[in-house]
């Protein structure tokens, strides 16, 4: 390497240094440490000597009363339904918003507002609306002729309610993604199809959807990951209750690590959580590669 190139290289690395140092110290190092903690009996906030206990935390968590029977199913239901809902409704919204219409600007803006608002405010407002006694929710149900519901106090429907709220809040986010992708579809494709006599549904399924397939893949994975990371709504609205009906892995992690102060167990949960995320990503990579392969053969 010539002296000049070496000099340039050093300059380049110095420029990256602030990022590397800060990111390394406050993101990478903790990540590695969490992994390490999961094999120990570290308790949060205590200075007791930490000792290696191998996979004990993992087995404790897996064998615990609620983990496999409630928390994992809750998390799965949550992720799958929330993801399906936001991904499909986002697409529907984007298709509705695609072509010009009177007031389309206002609609596009309006759809996205729940995404912008923070979860805390959303949770509090919905908490009130769903209050069994004084909230508007029951007033509306009664006026429609249904019976009063216990809403969030009912273990059977609590999770579904939260799912509904999440989809309501997040679908605008994905709608915008789809919108951008749809607008990137080369117009000549749809035009020539229309000239050939294709109707809307045919154009939709045979041209538009395949064209936005890569974005679709990205959106699906993003929705999974965002769903898994959700914490605020659970903390503010239900605290994981009633009877663990709305406890997901993140909440369980919070409970173990910060309420029971069992850092080892919490770390084990978060490692399992991370592994699930990476499995999902790998699935996405795989599907994306397959789609790219198919596309290339057109």
């Amino acid at each position: 390497m010539s002296k000049r190139t070496l000099f340039r290289t050093i300059k380049g690395w110095i420029l990256m240094l602030p990022f590397i140092l800060l990111f390394g110290a406050f993101t990478l190092y903790p990540f590695v440490t969490t992994f390490f903690y999961s094999f120990t009996n570290k308790k949060l906030g205590s200075n007791r000597v930490v000792s290696w206990i191998g996979l004990l935390n993992y087995s404790d968590v897996l064998e615990s009363k609620d983990f496999l029977s409630q928390i994992v199913p809750n998390s799965l239901v949550w992720v799958i339904v929330v993801s399906a809902g936001t991904v499909t409704l986002g697409l529907v919204l984007a298709l509705l918003l695609e072509r010009p219409l009177r007031g389309i600007g206002a609609f596009r803006t309006g759809i996205y507002i729940p995404v912008v608002i923070d979860w805390v405010v959303v949770s509090i407002v919905w908490s009130f609306l769903l209050q069994p006694d004084v909230g508007m929710g029951n007033s509306i149900l009664i006026s429609l002729g249904f019976a009063k519901s216990r809403f969030l106090n009912d273990p059977n429907i609590a999770l579904m309610i939260l799912i509904f709220i999440y989809i309501w809040k997040a679908m605008g986010y994905f709608a915008i993604f789809y919108l951008a992708a749809l607008q990137d579809v080369p117009p000549h494709l749809t035009e020539s199809a229309t000239i050939d006599g294709a109707n809307y549904l045919q154009i939709l399924f045979k041209i538009k959807l395949p064209q936005i397939a890569p974005i679709f893949a990205v959106v699906v994975v993003m929705s999974w990951i965002n769903a898994l990371k959700t914490f605020d709504i659970f903390y503010v609205m239900t605290g994981g209750g009633p009877a663990n009906a709305t406890k997901t892995m993140i909440y369980y992690y919070y409970e173990q690590a910060f309420i029971f102060r069992d850092a080892g167990a919490g770390a084990a949960v978060s490692v399992m959580f991370t592994i699930s995320v990476f499995i999902i990503i790998s699935i996405q990579r795989f599907i994306l590669a397959k789609m790219r392969g198919a596309e290339g053969s057109i």
């Binding site: 300059k11 903690y37 206002a106 923070d118 405010v121 509090i124 993604f177 992708a181 850092a263 919490g266």
Partner: protein, 276 residues
């Protein structure tokens, strides 16, 4: 044919109208409720528009809760972190995308890994670090994980890749050093990217709840989301008017930023999504 197009448009309009109303209704209700007396909020049958408009909810709110302190804390944390992210990301992105420094691809892969990483898993060791450095209940303690983000660097790398080589070379010929090229040529060209970065990161940091919640327990240091939650939990829950008022106040800064940066939102999301 024209007839059919009209009907399709009409149906779309109705769907969108209903959809947007459903989406916004809870917030409109929230704002309206903040102007109602408590009795009216919980009355049955429920009213939508206030029968009596009052502002005492807001007056009492500002008298009982240190709203401006909460806003100040949020502003300091958000502002400080956004500046830090901007600096780190631009410098690193310049090195990776423009200088194409040998070995920088490794950093880029780490960045891509960092984007997928769910940040919550870092909270245990981070909390231990913050605690042992005496930074519990401090704004700096809250800022630490956000001083440099993978997303920020990734975004800037993508944007910088769109800068034409000729501009960089022209700058080099003119005798500008790396920093000169960065500040005087590249950054003005990457303005949309920088705007997107600032908007997304700052909103994301402002709204964050879990991490500040773990670090801060002293009221004087609360960020706005913490303030809202503590007010809601601490108060006699019958104070619905004030709760809706604090929720409305919490929403205002986000709405202002959103409306004033409409253009960048759409551009930013599509850019990061498609390139990603």
């Amino acid at each position: 044919m024209k007839h059919r197009i009209f009907w399709i448009k009409a149906v779309r309009f109705v769907f969108l109208l209903v959809g947007t109303c459903v989406t916004l209704l809870p917030f409109i209700w929230m704002v309206l409720a903040s102007f109602k007396p408590n009795g009216e909020i919980v009355s049955y049958p429920p009213s939508f528009f206030p029968e009596t408009w009052i502002i005492s909810n807001y007056i009492n709110l500002f008298a009982t809760a240190p709203i401006f302190t909460y806003l100040k804390n949020s502003a300091i944390i958000t502002g400080g972190c956004t500046i830090s992210i901007l600096i780190c990301s631009c410098l690193a992105a310049y090195s990776i995308s423009i200088m194409k420094t040998p070995g920088s691809k490794v950093v880029l892969s780490i960045v891509t890994f960092g984007i997928i990483l769910p940040v919550q898993i870092n909270y245990i060791p981070l909390l231990t670090m913050v605690s042992s450095w005496g930074l519990m209940n401090t704004r700096l303690g809250v800022m630490l994980p956000y001083l440099a983000t993978a997303f920020g660097t990734y975004l800037m790398c993508s944007f910088f890749l769109t800068i034409p080589r000729e501009i960089v070379e022209a700058g080099a010929i003119d005798g500008l050093g790396e920093v000169g090229i960065l500040t005087r040529l590249v950054m003005p060209l990457a303005k949309p990217g920088i705007a997107t970065l600032i908007i997304f990161e700052s909103m994301s940091i402002w709204r964050d709840f879990m991490w500040p919640f773990l670090v801060i327990s002293k009221k004087a240091m609360f960020t706005m989301p913490l303030g809202v939650v503590s007010f809601w939990q601490g108060n006699d829950v019958m104070q619905w008017g004030m709760i809706m008022a604090i929720a409305t106040v919490a929403v205002v800064p986000l709405i202002i930023v959103y409306f004033s940066s409409q253009k960048y939102f759409i551009e930013g999301i599509s850019f990061s999504g498609i390139k990603g």
